[in-house]
Structures are given as C-alpha cells and as structure tokens.
Symmetry: C2
Subunit: 153 residues, 2 copies
DNA sequence: GGTCATGTGAAAGAATCTTGCATAAAAGCC
DNA sequence: GGCTTTTATGCAAGATTCTTTCACATGACC
C-alpha cells in the first residue's frame, strides 16, 4: 500500500462526506484534472484505502429505531472462543458494529433493532444460548449525537 | 415522510452496501426501470431516508489506526450541561460517533485517533478541562470485527 | 363514468465517467 | 552531469450513465 500524498488526502476529505461529487468538481477543489482524480480514487479503492462506497440509511425509516450499545464479557477467552464469538456477532443482522476490545469488557456491539422485545430476543439468541457469555451491560441510545464513518483528518 | 414500499426497501438494501451501482443494474435487480429507481432514490434523499452518500475511508490509511470506545459520566446532568456536552463531542474531530445513552453512563464515544498519546491529549481537552466529567471508562479496540453503517433489514 | 393524483417506461438529451495518448516531472543509474 | 525508466499528468474522444420529457396506465375519490 503506497503512501498517500496531499492530493489523496484532500480527495478523501471530500468524498468521505459526499461520494457523488463529480470528479470535475473534486478536481477543481484540489487542483487536479478529472481523470487524475478518477485514477487516484480507483487506486485507493483497489488498495482498500476506500473500503466501500455506501448510502447511509436512516434506521428509523426501515423500522429499526432503537440503537443499543452492549458490552459483552465472555466466560472463556481462549482464541477459539473469541473467534467463535466474532463470527457470531459479525453474522448477526442486528449487529451494526462490533469491536473486540481490551479493558473491562471483551466486545462492544452497536445494534440497530426494532424494539426492546427484539433486543430481548437478540440477547437470548446471542448471549444465553451460546453459553459463553458471563455478563453483558446494556446502554440504550436516546440520541445519536454524531453518527457515521467520517474521520477527523 | 411517506412510507416505504418493498421497491424502496429493495433499493436501499443494495445501495447501503454499494451506492455506485448503476441505476440500470438496480432496476434489473428490483424489476423497475432506471428512471423509476432514480426517482425513488431522489425522493428518499429529499426525505432524509438516505442520510448521506459517502466513501468509507480506512482509518489506518489516514494515520488514525487506533479506535477507542469511551463511556463518559457527567457530574451535572442538567439539560444545559447535557446539550453543552453534545456540542463539544460533536465538534471534536476525534469523535467519529457519539451516543447519549441511558444506563450506567451518559455518553458513549467512538474515537479514531493517531496514538495513545493523542488519546491522552483528547481526554485532557475534553474531560478534564471541561470540568463536568465525573469519570470515564476506556475500551481500546483490538479488532474492528464489524464496521460501517449498514443495517440488517 | 369521470376526474384527479400518482407512478411508470421509452426515448432523447445532458452530464459524467473512462480510456488512449502525448507530454512532463521525478527517480534511479551509469 | 546526462541518460533511461518510471510514474503521473492533462487533453480530447468515446462510452456509459444520469436526467428529463412525455404519453400512458393504475387506482382513489366523487
């Protein structure tokens, strides 16, 4: 993965907020021609610097108004159990984000669910039936104050 | 905000993973003409159902390899203090996501920072100098197991 | 039945993306 | 220094995609 120069950074800064900006406009903003912008974007996509191009959907609009953050502590923390948990969480549709963390918990999950009962069902399925969860801590979001994947660079 | 039908849902399902899919291809996948797909996407953008169209940038690539999750508990929880905290967190470039939550904490932050010392500097600036933070709990991400804004619908 | 509102597809037009190519700057190498 | 190689650039043409127009179909409501 080759290093990014200031043009790449400037392009990323723009498209991480709006990836439908025409290449011509990006070019004007960063002082580059449209084809150059395009080649740089393609290169960064190929390198994985740009992980994905996505539309951000309002959770409420698709019937998932509840955002819930859960800290999960496992009983067994052997590599095999950790990996099994990762796979489980990754595969669960309710899980929007999942982090394997150091500190007082093993995992932090961010969920998008339809209701508290949907969350309860999730906890049964993912925490109790698996048999490897020691405890979990639930934090219900009242306000998604800041949301998205934009970075501060 | 008018309700979404099954076509809208099908379109969202596709573009929340790849918003550069040609309208023609989306149309073929959902059995609609390209102009129809386009009008639906426009409508959903205008209504806010589609909150944004963005490129997801790999944090490592732009010098922010550390993802840190912080739970923050405030001293004073008056509405004025809550709002002040929301503004502070929203404005901080390190803060990628911020949730105001019920439960054992007031806020959950997800940070993207360059290093542990950058994080320490952040805690000084945001937690100590503000004077309204009772305590905070730090969880450092070792693995972004699942990451993004895609929803499971 | 008639009217209105809404959504649709086909086709033309506009804008954007993509590629080929000649050139220029930078890097490596005698 | 002078040469070659590599890499990136802009221009312009071509291909693709997006956008608009328009006539038509469907269903709701009197």
């Amino acid at each position: 993965m080759t290093a990014l120069d200031s043009f790449d950074i400037a392009i990323l800064r723009l498209i991480q907020h709006d990836n439908r900006l025409p290449q011509r406009e990006i070019g004007e903003a960063v002082n580059l021609s449209a084809p150059s912008v395009q080649r740089r974007i393609r290169r960064m996509e190929a390198e994985g610097v740009i992980a994905a191009n996505v539309a951000q959907v309002l959770p409420e609009a698709v019937g998932l108004p509840l955002t819930i953050i859960v800290e999960v502590e496992l009983l067994s923390e052997t590599p095999a159990h950790i990996d099994a948990a990762k796979q489980r969480f990754r595969a669960a549709p309710e899980v929007q984000q999942c982090h394997y963390v150091t500190g007082e918990a093993d995992f932090v999950l961010i969920l998008a669910v339809a209701s508290m009962s949907a969350y309860e069902e999730f906890t049964r399925r993912m925490f109790f039936e698996s048999g490897n969860v020691k405890k979990f801590r639930t934090l219900v979001s009242m306000d998604r104050v800041k949301y998205g994947t934009a970075l501060g660079f």
